[in-house]
Each structure stands twice: as C-alpha cells, then as structure tokens.
Amino acid sequence: MKRGAGRWPRAMGTAVTGLLLAVLGTTAFSWWALGPLRLEPIIVLVVSAGYRLPLVLGFMVVMFLGYVADLISGGVMGLNVVIFTVVYVICQLARRKLDISSWPFQMLSVGVLTILAHLLTAGAMTLTVPSYAPPVNLPLLLLAQALINAFTAPLFFGLNEALVGILAHFGPAERKVSP
C-alpha cells in the first residue's frame, strides 16, 4: 500500500524524485516549454510531502527541495525555501480535513498552490529587487501555469509514489510502535 509506506522511504523517495525532476526541469522539460510556461514538478512534490509526510521530516524534505530549486533556478538564494515552506504549512493544515488520494483533488490542490507560490515569488521579487516589475499578463500566465501544473500533477504524484514504493519494498522494515 503506497499511501501507507513508511515515513523514511517516503521522505527519501520524495527527495530523490525532487532531485531527479529538478535535473529534468533544466533540460528535458525546458525543451517542451510553451513560451514562459513550463512543467513545474517540484511544487507537486511539496504538496505531496505536505499531505503525506510527518511534520518535522516533511519540513526537512521540503527545505531540501527548496534548496535544490534555488540552486538551479534564479539568482535569489533562499526564495524557494521560504515559498515551499509556506506551501507545505498550508498543506499540513489542510490535511487535517482533506485527503489527497483522489486525482481531482490532487489537481485542484496543485493548481491553487501553484498560483499562491507564483504570487509569493512575484511579491518577494517586488520587495527585494527594486527593478523587478511583474509582467502585465501575470494573471493569465498564473492561470495557464496552474492548469499545466494541475493536469500534470497526477503524473508526478504517480512517479513519486512509484519511487516511494520501490524504496519501501527494498528498504529495511520500519519498527512497529505499539500504542
């Protein structure tokens, strides 16, 4: 059962998938870019971590993903760490009431949080870089990027779950803690 995979395989799997998708993001995914719109798989992993990892371990994984994203993207180090942390906290709050097992909800979550992440990026850039001006068609771009991320979310969720499943299968069994 992938949903019930141990926390360490899930954390390791999410981190490794993030690294892999980050590398693909700078190469293969950028070849299929539609103008300024690109595949953004790491946000999907942040949402997955927010719903499926325990609080502290999830924070560590998400900060690692943010660090990797900062390394390969942009000139403002630490920006993605902060944004992913915010998205992660929202997912941790949402998981109390919601479950992310279904595809439509995965897509909805990723779409909404993509818009939030991009708004935070634009906001942070506006505050920290005086010369930065958000593009005039930002709302349209955000909507299109959110749709792309939403429709590709099940694919990246599936990839992550597959890797988590493999690690859970081959990794050492977790100790059962009696209640």
Partner: protein
C-alpha cells in the same frame, strides 16, 4: 512538557518558518558561495544534465533527420535511405559549418579582448519562467569564480553567480537581478542596464538632458569593475520621456539572442574597482 504537546504544531511550524526566513536573509546578504553543499550538489547534477542534453540532441537529430524522411517516402527504400544519409551528411556539414562560424566569431572576439578567458558550453537552462539563469560546463577547476563577466561573440551575456569545481551558474543580463553599468556609445550618456519583462533590457538613470536616440549602441562602461569597457550590450529600441522623475525610459534590445545561447566565454577577471 504538556505545553509543548498542546502547541506542538504551531511551535514546530514557527521554528521552521523562522529558519527558512533566516536562511533567506542570510543567503541574500552573504552570497551562495558560502554554502558549500550546493557546490557538490551541482557536481552531482551537472553530469546528468549534460548527459540528458546530449541524449536529447541525439534523439532530436534522429527524429528530424531520419524518422521524418522514413514517413515521407515509402515506395523506394534504397533511395530513401540514400537520401536520408545524404541529408544527414548535409545537415551534419551545415551544423559543423555553423559551429565553425560561431567559434570563429568567438575566436575573433577573444582576440580583441586582452583578458584570459575560458570557453564553455551551456548545459542547462533555468526551469522557472521568472528567472533567467543558465548552467555552463566550466567551474572553479578552470578558474571560473563568482562575479566573473561572461560574453559571447555578439556581446555581454551576464555574470557568474556561483561555481562548483566543474560547473557554474550564470545570471543572464535579462534577469531583473542583473545590473550592468553602461554608456551609450555615440553620446557617452551613462546609465545602468537591467532585465525587463519579455526578454528586453531597460536602461535606467539616464536624465532627460542626455542624448539617447533609437538605434544607439549601448556598451559596458567598465566602471563597476565587473565588465571590461566596451563590450556591446544592445541597441536602443525605444526612448520615452518619463512622466515621473527626472529620468528617461529607455528600452534596449539585447545584442545576444539568449534563446539560442550555446557557447560562451568567461573572462577570468576578478572584479576591479576603478583605480
């Protein structure tokens, strides 16, 4: 203990959010060179990026020059293969010729600049639409360090923002974080060029009395110590008198086509402030 159990969630969230913000402000102030883990991570991902790029190029070549022809002609297999092979050779020769021309321009450009420099290939581009950076296949082992200027045959490209032993990340001129001190070649009007939305550049701090006209060439001034003087940055494509403030609004079309950046030259020149 009960207090911690009761408020575990907000305490942990608060700690991590504060940690993230502290890291952000630390990194913004000190620069990424101080965080060594990133160097090794880029060393890990760099070869994979390079491999994927090469495999992608190979598949692209196969797709364009072989499969397309196979689909186009079905009745004569021998002729088709011969045609495909000939076309492939022509394309290869064209590609070699284009590469030769590019490298020749780069060599001519290199001869004009009296600085030690190292040529590098672009192996990865920024996955985000909001930032403009690329990764090249030369790093600290070749003498590439942060703040070194990067050029190509067409003109200024950007600067190195950090390097690992064998790879480096460049901040392109069209990124809003990148600023270069420049002069208008004809009138010697001075300003600062910064990235603007849509892949254009914006020339700032040029007062109303300065003479700037459409088509004027903009070159680096050498004043900020990063770039040598006289590297072409772009051409003035629009000039408007701003309604607010004392400055003109000048738009510049970059000399470099950043969408087709393949080879670059890193000037192995540490920042030199004006004497």
């Amino acid at each position: 203990m009960n207090f911690f159990r009761k408020y575990r969630f907000p305490i942990i969230v608060g700690l991590f959010v504060l940690g993230a913000l502290a890291y952000f402000s630390f990194s913004a102030g000190k620069g990424v060179e101080r965080i060594p883990a990133g160097r090794y991570l880029l060393e890990l991902t760099g070869p994979v990026q390079r491999g994927i790029t090469e495999v992608g190029d190979w598949f692209n070549s196969i797709w364009r020059h072989y499969f397309a022809l196979v689909q186009a002609a079905e009745e004569n297999d021998r002729l088709k293969k011969e045609l495909a092979a000939l076309k492939q050779r022509t394309v290869d020769r064209d590609e070699l010729e284009l590469a030769n021309r590019r490298l020749k321009k780069l060599l001519e450009f290199k001869a004009n600049l009296d600085y030690p420099m190292v040529a590098a290939e672009v192996v990865g581009s920024d996955p985000s639409s909001q930032f403009k950076t690329v990764i090249i296949n030369k790093g600290a082992a070749d003498g590439v360090e942060s703040l070194m200027p990067v050029v190509c045959a067409q003109g200024a490209v950007g600067r190195v923002i950090w390097s690992s032993p064998n790879y480096a990340k460049l901040l392109l001129l069209i990124d809003p974080n990148c600023g270069v001190d420049v002069i208008v070649q004809r009138s010697r009007a001075r300003g600062v060029v910064e990235g603007a939305p849509g892949g254009e550049l914006r020339l700032k701090y040029v007062i109303h009395t300065e003479d700037v006209a459409l088509g004027d060439k903009v070159i680096t001034s050498g004043a900020a110590g990063v770039y040598p003087k006289g590297v072409l940055v772009g051409t003035v494509s629009a000039v408007r008198q701003g309604q607010d403030g004392a400055f003109q609004r000048v738009q510049i079309t970059p000399a470099v086509d950043f969408g087709r950046l393949e080879e670059v030259l890193v000037l192995l020149r540490r920042r030199q402030l004006d004497q």
